[in-house]
Assembly symmetry: C2
Homo-oligomer: 134 residues x 2
């Protein structure tokens, strides 16, 4: 596959308001979107630093994917998202190469994106997301 | 401070050649620079995915910063580097704000960059690097 670039970095945080304030103060980050998504158990914000995007992810409860991540690893880098033009054909391509996928089909992500996750085993320990604009 | 954007993501890997092959195959990453830096104990490569940059870092020995990181955490995300115009004034600014810095003075980084690290305590668990072109 050939990605267009990095769509965003995903960062797990304990408190979204505090994290937004930190990213604004330290890096001049500007809020792009903010949305609580109970289905995914996450209170999320996308911020832009220049043209680059960081997704800040706070859990809505302990028993959520981000809640469990924080309990195990603490706050920090969660995933790296790569943007592609055609998510479905990219996933078929990756599956054909034997790449270990968490999602073999596109699913709805945050902020109107179509997303699928690639297992960190396949990317030297980095959880990767593949994203296309829905 | 106001960063121009994300200069690169730093990823710790066990084997640089394998990681380069993975990033080329999965994301279409193109090699930008490659350099072994014995002073820093690291064999490093910068790759571009579209206009975005990932720095792949393999240790030259176990008793190096990246070697110790791998022993403790395993391969994965290592740092996020933000580009600024004036590193020295940025560091003065951050210090004045009470931000916990690992490097209070610019030092020579990889590939001709001037760099300084900000403690992950100050950035919600993410090791941040501030970079300017040397």
């Amino acid at each position: 596959m050939r990605a267009r670039g990095i769509h965003h970095l995903g960062v797990a945080v304990d408190d979204l308001d505090e994290a937004l304030a930190t990213y604004a103060r330290l890096f001049g980050a500007a809020l792009e979107h903010r949305e609580a998504v109970p289905d995914q158990g996450v209170d999320a914000a996308a911020v832009l630093v220049g043209q680059d995007r960081v997704e800040l992810l706070a859990p809505l409860a302990e028993e959520t994917p981000v809640g469990r991540f924080l309990a195990e690893r603490g706050p920090g880098m969660h995933h790296v998202a790569y943007e592609v033009d055609d998510l479905r054909s990219t996933l078929a391509d990756l599956a054909e190469q034997g790449v270990e996928l968490i999602d073999s089909e596109p699913r709805e992500g945050l902020f109107g994106l179509e997303v699928a996750f690639v297992h960190p085993h396949a990317v030297h320990g980095v959880l990767a997301e593949v994203v296309s604009r829905g």
